[in-house]
Symmetry: C2
Subunit: 169 residues, 2 copies
DNA sequence: AAATTATGTCAATGTTGTTGACATATTTCA
DNA sequence: TGAAATATGTCAACAACATTGACATAATTT
């Protein structure tokens, strides 16, 4: 029996004609699990060569995407505690992947920037995930991307405010 | 600046007309991250009440889906080590969520079954994820589901053989 | 001057993963 | 039948990544 090759009825008609109970979509639930695992698995193997883990990846990614963001902003995005970030950030700073510069307006802030080394690693990781996505999407028609993006957006808790990220001053 | 509300050029034309470099699809990459986090976050909060974590969830899920599967099969699906599973399985067995029955053909095997308690928890977790998926998909047209399933399937490493799961004898 | 804010750091703890070694029961094979 | 292979369990040690709570420092705001 092939674990993935099953199809399931997703609606179950009941005695009460008004109620329609949705049967959980096992296939999509499991696909999300397996897809996400492989999606992060490939980067994991590159990170390992630097002695880094997934937490380092996330920091590199969001510093790359939002150069100069503050520590507080990064904590908000990642939804982790200061201490969890501290360990990872220390590795990245001491390994010269990230540098901290005091904010110009508010000098208490430590704004985070990638060094060339950090940029290179961040881009390598990004490339892996980007190529995987591109491969997965290129066979489908162009409208698919919007459908997928919409679906993934809807999976996100609506009450979760999208964290604001400051402009680099 | 809203972290999610950006759009990116996903193709970058180069000087060489033959080469088209795909710019990584930042938006989908980040959507996968945030979507997966919330997708597992809601179950996490229920599991916490039992003192369980995500590892317990995965075991409950796959035992629910494949009643009577063996320990070896579960290890293959989860791609974790025996010891990682052992701790989690011990919690679930001692808490009477899962019971182990010696295989009828091969009595070395410990085939895993949910107790009523285990079934109830597994179904509760499944319901959460099922409803989240249903909510995310119901606004889109029916063809979307196939597009999404296809996309997620393509994200999975092709060389990964789908683990075979034995029939309950 | 006092309160608040941004960040850093310390200590303790928990969950989930790893490896390697070894034990036991059972089945299969020569 | 006896040896080898298999399925599982268990032990010890370790690592990554998360948590909480408390406290320290520097800078900004009130």
């Amino acid at each position: 029996m092939d674990i993935m090759a099953q199809s399931f009825p997703r609606k179950l008609a009941l005695a009460e004609p008004l109620a329609t109970i949705e049967e959980p979509d096992f296939e999509l639930i499991e696909l999300l699990f397996f897809a996400y695992r492989d999606f992060v698995g490939e980067p994991d193997r590159l990170l390992e060569k630097h002695g880094f883990g997934r937490a380092h990846h996330r920091v590199l990614h969001f510093v790359n995407r939002h150069e100069g963001l503050t520590v507080a902003e990064l904590l908000e995005i990642l939804e982790i505690t200061k201490q969890s970030l501290a360990r990872v950030l220390k590795d990245l700073v001491s390994g010269e992947f990230i540098e901290q510069r005091a904010g110009t307006e508010d000098r208490r802030q430590r704004r985070l920037h990638l060094t060339p080394r950090g940029k290179a690693l961040a881009e390598a990781l990004l490339g892996m995930q980007g190529r995987r996505i591109a491969r997965a999407i290129e066979k489908a028609d162009p409208a698919s991307r919007a459908v997928i993006a919409r679906f993934l957006s809807e999976l996100i808790d609506p009450e979760r405010p999208k964290p604001a990220v400051s402009e680099t001053p």
